[in-house]
Symmetry: D2
Subunit: 153 residues, 4 copies
């Protein structure tokens, strides 16, 4: 059950992921930061802000879902061929503990990269006083769109 290793099809994968992330206004709105990109893996961090909270003061599931979905999606995008883009087909997320911390760390990784569909998993941790606690875990399906640049219309 060791993690698979992947060869990127596009040598510019990291640049491409960073550029796409920067073109997402919603990621800027919530203050998410792309902190790591590697072939088949991506980490996004979300510093706590009071306006990201739900009624109990913890990070809202919508903000949490947004960063974990993006971390999984960019993990998949890192393996896509040049000129392709990636769409989230669906995901499933379990919220296993309150998202209670100074920041959320969402990590996505590819489970299986196919030509048309890619399956990923992701985990989100709440970092509090230096300790990471798992707060959400997810599984996602992506569709790879060949020859469809990931650019604004």
């Amino acid at each position: 059950m060791t993690a698979p290793t992947f060869e990127p099809k596009n040598p510019d994968y990291a640049e491409r992921v960073r550029s796409s992330f920067e073109r997402q206004p919603f990621m800027a709105l919530i203050g998410a930061e792309l902190t790591e990109i590697a072939p088949g893996r991506c980490e996004i961090q979300l510093p706590y802000r009071p306006d990201l909270a739900q009624q109990h003061g913890f990070v809202h599931g919508g903000a949490l879902g947004g960063v974990i979905d993006s971390a999984m999606g960019y993990a998949g995008y890192s393996l896509a061929p040049a000129g392709a883009s990636v769409l989230t087909v669906e995901y499933k997320i379990n919220l296993v503990a309150p998202a209670d911390g100074e920041r959320i760390i969402a990590r996505g990784r590819v489970v299986r990269a196919g030509r048309t569909l890619t399956v990923t998993r992701g985990d989100a941790y709440a970092l509090k006083d230096g300790v990471e606690t798992l707060c959400a875990t997810a599984q996602q399906t992506l569709m790879i769109l060949a020859d469809t640049p990931d650019e604004p219309r």
Copy 2:
């Protein structure tokens, strides 16, 4: 396959849902509006804003997931006993079309209300030029926490 009808256990269910919704800073951040609450049903609308978009200019999956998760959760909360609160255990969401419209309309409804667990479904539509197009569909599990007020800590 007609929708089930439900009797609320708490006559103040609508007031309670509205109060909880108003205590969610993340819903205010993204500009979501609670537009309907009925026993076992809830509708939340999200007017389009450029800062809610992903890289293609459509509403980001995180914002979409946030409103559909909340619409399903409040549908379940409307049937909870007085003094109880509700937690999202997990949900699964399919993104079936771009969230392209002047506003997103998310509708949640209870499929089965149990004592400990409640199962809901939700659909989100993009409203554009007066036409609603399904853009996401979801299924959710909620946990009912008896004697646990839904209040900030």
Copy 3:
């Protein structure tokens, strides 16, 4: 929230679904019966047998998942073009009550039929003393494989 209606692309859809169902040895092993096929809809019934049970005497989740997955898959297959076949990409199922009855009735229906991906939902009911009780509810993603006959190798 009325159910969408669909036009089949292949006039022989019913014959094709029945033929595919009959070529599934696992459906014969568990005794499943294809009881209805219509454009975008399919019903499969599973009469109770003691060897389909789990440890409490109710129908096992594996048998239940098998018939609900198939009912959803054939609902999608009914709308596929001639010469295409259909693969289950993934599904999510909530088991909401014991599958306690003389037979299980699984009904699948298409939520959105796309060119490459189709999203379906399904419900399974336990029929006991003439009363249907919802025991499982599911959501599924299918992939349409054009020009890939659904035949044994």
Copy 4:
């Protein structure tokens, strides 16, 4: 991202899991074998038989879902207190490759064990000519029922 280790609450966990498995007629019908049980982990194998196949000759998703659901469920059950039983609340499964092999090996493991709810993951591999190929990956929610013996009624 190393796997968590768990302390069983019931020293007789292995005996209890084996006894429950043997009381599932459906597992006997399909020929599934419980091949490993450890705290928070379970492996179930399913030797190939022609009557387990779908229309292409591979193991049917229903049989596959049945063994992966059971492997995840028994992984969770291994950590439950004495006198408790475990119910599958829901699961989500991605079928990522044809289940093509001499046997299927399904491995479940606990991601987070809670007092009421436990979250697990599972993977199924097709073993062919000595090589394991991932064919399905799943995520599950279990409910722990205290003081509810896992016995036939």
